[in-house]
């Protein structure tokens, strides 16, 4: 089989043993790689109903079809487990050198079962797997851990995915880091922590066979050329941080825990301001000709010499959404998250929930006691030092507040509301337990259903339904009968990229347009030149539907019901304050209608369940037997 080794590596941490599983070609044609294959492995290997932090959960890694080949932006891999935040599927993507080593070591997937009694790290040296004591790595940051392991082997071809202190402390918003990139959202780091798995390193020295090297090289070269041009220029210059002012101008920038959509100090935390005053360099993942990642550094003052990888989603969460108009505090907070192993979005949104609790008198200074501030501190919106300190407290579960916020907004608000007879859930900004992204959906009505129905919770990366709203293809302020199909279409479009995986920033480099008509034929050619298959437009389109369906099936097996497709209370009951989006909410009537037409577009029942025949049509017969209706 070209493009794949045909082998899945299973690792049991209870007994420190391994075994190899082989899969038929049809399985690969159905699940391909990335988040789809990782989620399928989660479906096959996780004990249904298990506690997400118990040994019955597994962590699954799935390689990229194009990782290690010349295909630009194909150096990515997927990760999946049962999410400690949502209790449903937790799927993540990360990229760069680990993805290449993974593939070159000869594995299509890796499944880590059970839990170790002692802290352990795993080393996969091509086809050899060894287990090592990791106690000396405890407390190290993500970069320190990667460097310590690389130094131990004296070989920079040893690439490592690891957790920082946050994962060790079972912080539910912890992520997994590799090569400066993150498998973020949904708390993958806490799953690793529950297994006492500090790090997984891979050295891959083998080659990757492809069906038609000459054609693949030619196709890759053409994409590479296009990726140097204007279609990607905005990513190179400002990266995604350009969205700070865009969203602010449209009245969509989350501000003070989504109380408003316009931030008065947005200029001071904009991509343009970062570029002018703090940009240290721009870096690229392995296999990437775009280089979008903006690295910001604080050169002097109390937050120097903090250096953080600044993306829009990290920046809104740790600036405007905390009311902080101080770029230096934002860089420091993001750098803390990067190094301590925290998801920047969930961390920022959870901190902003706490700040609103302080604003409304639910919390007092005393609740914020920590070693640095033994008497506590004022956690009001706009306090950059408080925001930074809270990132550290969360990672270490320090004090009452650090331990509380480490649980994420859903659990933290439930605990506080029970203890203090309050209603803080009304401003706990999550969907299914996953904190919401940097687009206020009260005036993005297509995105509202994309988020509500999102299988991993409040995520902009899995539902691309903000595209038609923001770009004005539809009236973003209203609801009509087209939105169900649009939400379906955009999430499955995104799922194709997340499954191959290819970075979505390449999507305009096939024909200049980011549509299926332009990209799918080109992607089919890449798949065929790699594997020797005969994929056509429809086969590529099905990749996305299948990827989404296996994740939905996982959730149904875990007890999902229609009520789980919800929006945060605030978005449904508190009209947006100020700016071009002022006055909007998503009403109950609108949301229920949107869910109806979305489920119908998906071919599901009114209750959002999947008919057996639909699953069989997608080639998922065994899934149909378990959860089909």
């Amino acid at each position: 089989m070209n493009g794949y080794s045909g082998k899945i590596l299973h690792i049991d941490l209870n007994k420190h043993k391994t075994w190899v599983e082989t899969k038929p070609e049809k399985w690969y044609q159905t699940y391909i790689g990335g988040v789809s294959m990782a989620s399928r492995l989660a479906w096959e290997n996780i004990e249904p109903g298990c506690d997400s932090l118990a040994p019955g959960n597994v962590t699954c890694l799935a390689g990229g079809l194009f990782a290690g080949t010349p295909v630009p932006v194909g150096g990515k891999y997927g990760m999946a487990s049962k999410s400690p935040l949502t209790g449903f599927i937790g799927d993540s993507l990360s990229g760069s050198w680990l993805a290449v080593s993974f593939k070159r070591a000869g594995w299509d997937g890796i499944v880590v079962h059970g839990a170790s009694d002692e802290w352990v790290r795993i080393f996969i040296d091509d086809d050899k797997v060894s287990f090592h004591d990791a106690s000396h790595l405890l407390g190290l940051t993500s970069t320190e851990t990667e460097e310590a392991i690389r130094d131990e082997y004296g070989d920079d071809q040893v690439r490592t995915a690891c957790i920082g202190p946050a994962g060790e402390n079972l912080v539910r918003v912890a992520n997994v880091s590799n090569d400066g990139r993150k498998a973020g959202r949904t708390g993958q780091g806490a799953v690793w922590g529950s297994k006492k798995l500090k790090a997984l390193s891979i050295r891959g020295t083998g080659g990757i066979s492809v069906a038609d090297p000459e054609t693949l090289l030619k196709l890759s070269y053409d994409i590479l050329q296009a990726a140097q041009g204007p279609h990607t220029q905005k990513y190179r210059i400002l990266g995604t941080t350009a969205n700070m002012l865009n969203m602010n101008r449209l009245g969509l920038l989350p501000t003070r825990n989504y109380q408003a959509g316009v931030f008065e100090d947005a200029e001071l935390v904009s991509g343009e301001y970062l570029h002018e005053h703090y940009k240290a360099k721009t870096i690229a993942c392995a296999q990437c000709p775009i280089a979008c990642e903006q690295v910001g550094q604080v050169k002097e003052g109390s937050f120097a010499p903090a250096m953080g990888h600044i993306e829009y989603e990290s920046l809104y969460a740790l600036s405007s959404n905390c009311g902080v108009g101080d770029m230096e505090a934002s860089i420091k907070a993001i750098a803390n998250c990067n190094e301590l192993g925290l998801d920047t979005m969930s961390t920022g949104v959870t901190i902003s929930w706490a700040m609103e609790c302080y604003q409304k008198g639910v919390f007092t200074e005393e609740d914020f006691k920590c070693e640095k501030y033994p008497e506590g501190f004022e956690a009001e919106f706009g306090n950059g030092e408080a925001m930074v300190t809270l990132t550290e407290m969360i990672a270490h579960r320090e004090g009452y507040m650090g331990d509380l916020l480490a649980e994420g907004t859903k659990r933290a608000s439930a605990k506080v509301d029970e203890e203090r007879d309050t209603e803080t859930y009304k401003w706990a900004m999550n969907i299914k337990g996953l904190e919401t992204p940097g687009y206020d959906a009260r005036s993005l009505k297509t995105f509202a259903v994309g988020l509500a129905a999102g299988v991993r919770g409040g995520c902009h990366n899995r539902s691309a339904a903000y595209d038609p709203d923001i770009k004005g293809w539809v009236d973003r302020f209203s609801v009509d009968e087209t939105r169900g199909e649009l939400a379906k279409s955009t999430e499955e479009y995104a799922a194709v990229y997340d499954t191959l995986p290819l970075c979505k920033f390449i999507r305009r480099c096939f024909t200049g347009k980011a549509d299926r008509e332009g990209a799918w034929p080109a992607i089919a050619k890449l798949i065929n030149a790699t594997t020797g298959w005969e994929f056509e437009y429809d086969d590529v389109d099905l990749i996305g539907e299948r990827a989404h369906t296996i994740k939905k099936a996982f959730n149904i097996r875990e007890g999902w019901t229609r009520e789980d497709d919800h929006l945060p209370w605030r978005w449904q009951h508190e009209p947006m304050e100020g700016g071009p989006s002022a006055g909007y909410v998503v009403t109950d009537e609108e949301l229920e209608y949107l869910k109806d037409i979305y489920y119908k577009a998906k071919g599901w029942t009114k209750e959002g369940l999947i008919p057996e025949e639909k699953l069989i049509e997608l080639g998922m017969e065994d899934v149909a037997e378990e959860i089909g209706v």
Partner: protein
């Protein structure tokens, strides 16, 4: 008629300006405005405006009064007196 053009993102870096006021003849279209901007600020050509000097590079787009994105097939329409036109490049993700 007088309109205000705001520059965000790459267009701000290219022009070095946050915004500029334009005095326009009645009947001026959005396409005319792109052409005027490209003529006045040649650094926009390439990353923001296509070499023809009148078509925006995808995904640069004009927004009218922070409410309405001007689609390619609406570029022959025009603004009204007092409108604010925002030239932005939309990025997704992060």
């Amino acid at each position: 008629m007088r309109v205000q053009v705001e520059f965000l993102g790459v267009s701000r870096l290219a022009t070095g300006l946050k915004e500029v006021a334009l005095n326009l003849e009645k009947g001026t279209t959005f396409r005319d405005i792109v052409h005027m901007l490209a003529t006045r600020y040649p650094k926009l050509i390439g990353d923001v405006v296509q070499p023809n000097g009148e078509t925006l590079q995808v995904p640069n787009i004009l927004n009218l009064n922070a409410k309405r994105m001007i689609q390619e097939n609406q570029m022959d329409e025009g603004p009204s007196d007092g409108d604010r036109i925002i030239l932005m490049s939309m990025s997704a993700g992060g």
